[in-house]
């Protein structure tokens, strides 16, 4: 018996090796488009057009980036996206976590009905047109509120956060109540610090959602001064591939952007996510998993 535990069979070892090779291959496939785009963005246009490289660049040419940073419309769109993302994430997290906290309380009257009503919104929705009519009926068109409010709370995120709050030992809060804390105080002082990994994870989810959002802006934002970066990016891609695009958004470019500039824009629009991702990624296990095991 002991020898079995210590010695692995040949088949098992072969499997381990193949498994690691296979997963490394998958990881490479995942990364290769990024690597290609990054190297294309720092390559001279000639190399890009003649496809003379794949994963790493042959020659370095940083002119696409120099060009990007001289574009006022891009800087404006980036600033817009930063504001949209920051405000939106704070707003979404505040409402989502507060709602999750309240709905986790067993003493809440009608809790079951309320939770059921939340779940139902995951199974059925009014769809695009009635949502659009409500949002524009509230005169949110051409304001960033149209990007924030209609997607403020994700029912799925709310349920996962609620589960991780429910998993906390109730004694902690009871002790706080004994000390004269009300719900709000115990929520802020006891519960929130205990679910920090969850908060980090879901803040990242919301932030990525706002940063990446494209279609809400297509629906609601017509004023090119308020465009977020994804719209700008889409217009550049369409222009450089010869398709139709809203040229007012990228008016200061003046001509059809060559392909290596498209690559540089793609890199530029992805960098903020890559900057935050490694710091939050280690919380995923705790954040998402703690919720989903019980969910």
């Amino acid at each position: 018996m002991r020898s079995k535990k210590v010695k692995k069979s040949v088949g098992s070892r072969v499997f381990d090796i193949f498994n690691i090779l296979f997963l490394s291959g998958m990881a490479f496939i995942c990364m290769s488009p990024f690597l290609y785009v990054v190297s294309a963005s720092v390559s001279p246009l000639g190399d890009v057009l003649s496809r003379s490289f794949f994963i790493y660049p042959k020659h370095i040419d940083l002119s696409p980036y120099r060009y990007l940073f001289s574009s006022n419309t891009l800087l404006r769109a980036t600033g817009n996206s930063l504001v949209i993302t920051l405000v939106g994430t704070v707003l979404s997290m505040t409402v989502t976590v507060t709602t999750a906290y309240v709905l986790s309380k067993p003493q809440l009257l009608g809790r079951k009905v309320l939770n059921g009503l939340v779940v139902f919104t995951m199974l059925f929705s009014g769809g695009m047109i009635p949502s659009y009519l409500i949002t524009s009926g509230l005169h949110l068109n051409d304001t960033w509120w149209a990007l924030w409010l209609p997607h403020c709370v994700s029912a799925y995120n709310m349920i996962l956060i609620r589960t991780s709050i429910s998993a906390l030992p109730p004694e902690l809060e009871e002790a706080a109540v004994m000390d004269g804390c009300n719900y709000l105080q115990s929520f802020v002082q006891i519960v929130l610090p205990l679910i920090k990994p969850t908060l980090a994870t879901f803040s990242l989810f919301y932030a990525v959602g706002y940063w990446n959002n494209y279609f809400s802006s297509v629906l609601y934002i017509n004023d090119s001064a308020k465009y977020p970066i994804q719209i700008w990016l889409r217009n550049i891609i369409m222009l450089s591939s010869g398709g139709f695009a809203d040229t007012t958004a990228v008016s200061d470019l003046g001509y059809i952007p060559p392909q290596n500039i498209t690559y540089a824009v793609i890199v530029f629009a992805t960098i903020p996510i890559l900057c935050v991702y490694p710091f939050v990624q280690r919380y995923f296990t705790k954040g998402v998993m703690a919720g989903s095991i019980k969910g």
């Binding site: 998958m26 496809r51 309240v102 695009m128 409500i134 709000l184 989903s292």
Partner: protein
Amino acid sequence: MDVSRVEEKRIRGSGSAKTTRKAGKAKALERLKRDKLLYIMLIPGFLYFLIFKYGPMLGLITAFQDYNPISGWFGSEFVGFKHFNRFFADPKFFQLFRNTLILAFCNIIFYFPLPIILALLINEVKNGKYKNVIQSVLYLPHFVSWVVVAGICMTMFSAESGALTGAVSRLFGREVRVLSEPAFFPALITGQIIWKECGWGTIIFLAALTGVDTQLYEAARVDGANRWRQTWHITLPAIKPTIITMLILRMGSFLNTGFEQIFLMLNSMNREVGEVFDTYVYQTAMTNGRISYGSAVGMFKSVICLLLVMFSNKIAEKAGEEGIY
């Protein structure tokens, strides 16, 4: 979701089932008063769901009206099922249905099993550090926007200078235009989904696997079960409930082909195979201004989705599995 159900059962069981209705009412009032702050904290979330989730559901009456933006919901004329009838009679209906079904089947057959297999393989990696690196890398594409995915795809396969255009053409032995040839559309969409979501999809299965008692594996090893049999008899059963939940949810969104993704990949050449319910709703209502017709199409899709999720939930329960609600 199981836990909340158990909790609710517990609460119901310990609740004051036998107290008289009057006492119950007084008690409820007392509880309301005591928990006043809780209800105040609920207001923002409540308003959100009321206005932006249940509001649009009420707004579905648009589909039964000849909606006119000036007179609004209260002034527009009711026309019953006119728009639905017109939609069902439209040849476009069959085309949308076919396109949506093709994409949905591609998703279930080619995408759905992959995260499960990948999760099983990641689970077999014993080196913690390597496992972490692999997971971080595989999760990453999930966080990239569809605009970027579409952009990368369009540049990679562009006819003039795409990095992969040559390779694909050689593979098929002729000049292939991946972006505009209708035959490639489902592969293009499914491929994008696999690249973007396959790694991220493993997280829920890996979460379920962290709950497996390691003693089970030890016992199986003692009994001489090899790793394949351990996977088959311990790991797979452990994630079976998760697989079924995901499958039910997938069924519920069967017709919800990723709207933004398809919207970004559509062009005049592939519209015939790429147009799905969601993009058609946008096209008719927002571009052509047929608001009521568009919301009828949208409502048809939402109702079918709801029926599908209820139906598959029933089947799961019949098969002795726990449903999702």
